[in-house]
């Protein structure tokens, strides 16, 4: 028997003040900054999951994003994940109750690894994604925190393994080196994580072409590919991506 699990394509929506930033180039959307409208649009396009990133992560914004998740969950019936500044069991509970399927935790997982253990025991591993910002350093990768501003001086692979042991259900693996370059994902990073961990890896950072997505799902062995600007600004839709992947014999939900 084989693994027929489809490779997931996940658009990422950066949210601040109740608006999606980026993504303003949609011609067929009246209001591209409306998170609910955009979420529905991506769902219709065949997105396998939606990732909301609270880029301000302030107290006020947390309430706003909760409201967004509530609205989206009423209309979009695919998994929703939320990230950005999450650092307590209470916040996780509120976000899951609002309708999120998963939360992704970054800096707090580094500062307080016990949060991952506690949260996965309380809500189940499937609800807890650990988001790792990795940057190349001396033939390996180091973990960055605080939105990529500070080197935590922790070996990223070792940290990923530790998170798996503590109960993380998935790893959202973002390459700081490739993020924003549109030059492709860090294939070595994703391959390494995928081979050495036994939980799904969501690749992030660097998508610029259809081929980049294909590469990270084959050579990079990632289980899912997350992208923002390729969907927000470029001519590719999720359907384009999936058709291309299918043509290249990659299992996708289409």
């Amino acid at each position: 028997m084989v693994n027929l699990l489809a490779k997931r394509i996940i658009p990422c929506l950066d949210v601040t003040g109740g608006r999606v930033v980026k993504g303003t180039k949609f011609v067929n959307l009246k209001d591209a900054g409306d998170p609910v409208g955009l979420a529905k649009y991506y769902d219709e396009q065949g997105a396998d999951e939606l990732s909301f990133l609270d880029i301000t992560a302030s107290y006020e914004n947390r309430k706003i994003i909760m409201d967004i998740i509530k609205k989206v969950a009423k209309q979009v019936f695919i998994p929703l994940s939320v990230g950005g500044g999450i650092n307590s069991i209470e916040t996780i509970r509120e976000l899951l109750n609002a309708g999120a399927e998963k939360v992704s935790i970054g800096t707090a997982a580094v500062k307080n690894p016990n949060l991952i253990r506690e949260a996965s025991q309380k809500f189940g591993s499937q609800a807890i994604v650990v988001s790792i910002d990795a940057k190349r350093k001396n033939n390996a990768w180091t973990v960055y925190i605080k939105g990529g501003r500070e080197d935590a001086n922790i070996d990223a692979l070792g940290f990923g393994k530790k998170m798996e042991k503590l109960g993380a259900g998935e790893i959202l693996l973002n390459s700081i080196d490739m993020d924003g370059t549109k030059q492709g994902y860090d294939l070595k990073l994703n391959k390494k994580f995928s081979e050495e961990l036994n939980i799904p890896i969501i690749a992030s950072g660097g998508a610029g072409t259809l081929e980049h997505i294909k590469e990270v799902l084959t050579e990079g062995k990632a289980d899912a590919a997350l992208a923002a600007s390729i969907f927000h600004y470029k001519k590719y839709t999720i359907i384009d991506v999936k058709k291309y992947l299918k043509k290249n014999k990659i299992e996708v939900r289409i």
Binding site: M1, V2, N3, L4, L5, A6, R8, D43, D48, F77, I78, P79, E101, S125, Q126, G169, E170, N198, I199, P200, D223, A224, R253
Partner: protein, 138 residues
């Protein structure tokens, strides 16, 4: 099971199923209908169906993502799964749909008024909504 018992829901669910009320179980809501689970050795399930709940032995665990099901009643399609365990019913006739994750497993079971899925129809997009609608209208 502890939580169900605390709220007397174990009794209520069994009674409702006996009374032929329509029952829909999702994920653990499917697993709990069986006799026992490798996840909690020694704890008895609701025992509506004979058989047990076993753990995947291969692949990344949990299985997280969209997998294809072949269903007798709904047809083929992708649905969203999140599970480390799956049900192995003694009576194969109750298996309504199957999927593959390094092993062929029951994705849903159906018998009389009971329908229960291992996957999450509520998170399975259009196809999932169709499954729920079918259950509501049958």
């Amino acid at each position: 099971m502890k939580e169900l018992k605390k709220r007397k829901l174990d009794f209520i669910i069994k009674k409702a199923i006996e009374m032929k009320k329509p029952f829909l179980g999702i994920c653990v809501g499917l697993q709990v209908l069986f006799e026992e689970s490798e996840e909690s050795p020694g704890i008895k399930g609701l025992r509506i169906f004979k058989g047990k709940v076993v753990k995947f032995k291969q692949g990344k665990i949990p299985q997280i993502g969209w997998n294809k099901i072949s269903s007798n009643t709904i047809g083929d399609g992708y649905v969203y799964f999140v599970n480390s365990y799956y049900v192995a019913p003694d009576d194969k006739n109750i298996i309504e749909s199957t999927s593959d994750y390094y092993v062929k497993f029951a994705a849903a079971v159906k018998k009389n008024n009971v329908f229960a899925t291992q996957f999450h129809p509520e998170k399975s997009g259009e196809f999932g909504l169709r499954i729920l609608k079918k259950w509501l209208t049958c």
